[in-house]
């Protein structure tokens, strides 16, 4: 079965995703390996795939700390990856 495909914007770059995939799967398929930046500056990517580890957090449509593994892709989603974690953000 083929599924609907559409574009989302990841770090300013449009990518075509399968409309049924979760955002985490779509980002991994697009070669993203830097989902978030840890408090000491390391690149992190999904670990648990099911919402418990919080390593796949990205900014979605301006809202920070969204778990990509729990979010289905939606057309036109604007995603920012690699954003620093809460404590390293300026006030």
């Amino acid at each position: 079965m083929t599924s609907r495909e559409f574009e989302i914007v990841v770090d300013g770059r449009p990518i075509v995703v399968s409309g049924d995939a979760t955002l985490a799967a779509a980002l991994l398929n697009a070669g993203v390996v830097h989902f978030r930046t840890s408090v000491t500056g390391e690149a992190r990517a999904p670990l648990c795939g099911m919402g418990s580890c919080f390593e796949c957090r990205v900014r979605v449509n301006g809202v920070a700390h969204q778990r990509a593994c729990l979010l289905p892709c939606e057309e036109g989603m604007i995603v920012d990856t690699g954003t620093p974690s809460m404590r390293t953000q300026p006030p």
């Binding site: 079965m1 670990l47 099911m50 418990s52 919080f54 729990l70």
Partner: protein
Amino acid sequence: MTVECDVLVVGGGPAGLAAAACAAEHGARVVAVDQGARPGGQVWRHVHRDHLPALGRDWIARCERSGVRWIAQAAVVDGSARDGLVVVRRGESFVVRARRIVIATGARELFLPFPGWTLPNVLGLGGAKALLDSGMTVRGKRVVVAGTGPLLFPVAAAVARSGAHVATVAEQAPLRQVARFAVGLVDHPGKLLQGVRYRGAFARTRYHLDTWIGRAEGNGGLERVVLTNGRRTWIEPCDLLCCSSGLVPNTDLARLLGCVVHDGIVSVDEHQQTSDPCVYCAGEPTGVAGDAAALIEGEIAGRCAADDATLRRGSPLYVTRDRWRRFATDLAAAFHPRSEMLERPDAGTILCRCEDVRCGSIDSRWTGRQARLYTRIGMGPCQGAVCGPACQLLFGFAPGAVRPPLGAPSIEALLPATTSSDSM
């Protein structure tokens, strides 16, 4: 907003689906709350329903026919059995009040830290399966599958069927334990057959026993994993490492509701009733035994929660359930982490991924509470879901108390609705 019902089921995997469907079929008004976008939990996570095994498709369809009100992408964050549970969905909260609650929150993976486990492309075993079932593609990649227990088989099979090359499958348990477990499978021919079928999917890959991960390495991303059997150490180049050290029952909700939890397992009687007569529990939180056990326990919990008086001790459902409980005991005996995996990793290895606390920062004389206060270990967004069980095994820390809110809901979701002018 408050939703009223007879039975509230928390969790949408096999146990939750069976509990919800069976309670509704016995006349109860049922609400089910699940974190996933679609019913099925982790075992039956799917993109297209026709990719699911027939059993999963049938239970989801049965649940839909039964009239259960399904609330997807929602999580219980607070509440009590008496006053109702606070549910957060898409940034908004509401209360569900029910006469009975069925806890079917499943399990998560046990991760024992090793050098390099924080590199991108190091995934859990269940994590890899969940991501594959969510649309991840691994075609052409070289994959190492390592860890323990029967979960290695469906994961290696799923990776191979997705067009990746499974370089190695490594089971940490010794031959003697695995052999005893395999002999015991004659009591569960369905599981044995399933195992053989999975093995066929990665037939050309060597299945190493007595083998565990030394470290993972790579520059910015995973490039290779170092495996060892205690006598010999070798390097496997790979693009993806799928690994974990077992499963941990999710008992936070049970503990929040005040149910008795012993050794990480929710105590239930023969009717799946917890220490609180209004609260039932089914599936992995009562001891990890897999999907077949979860379905039976869910059915018992759902029917008892709906006051089905025809179920009693000695009924065939109960006999089958007790057989699966023995399977849980066999699983735990065969696949517990070996002593080498419980040695403390190097000082530089990260223990808490949220707060980047390294093993060397933890003084073994501390209590868990001291470790939290001095280092912030377990205080990040996952609230110790990942490092907590590892710290219990590596440092003997007692599990921390459960404090609401569960998970990490946004503060806006928990506050009464505000207008844009006073939201600053």
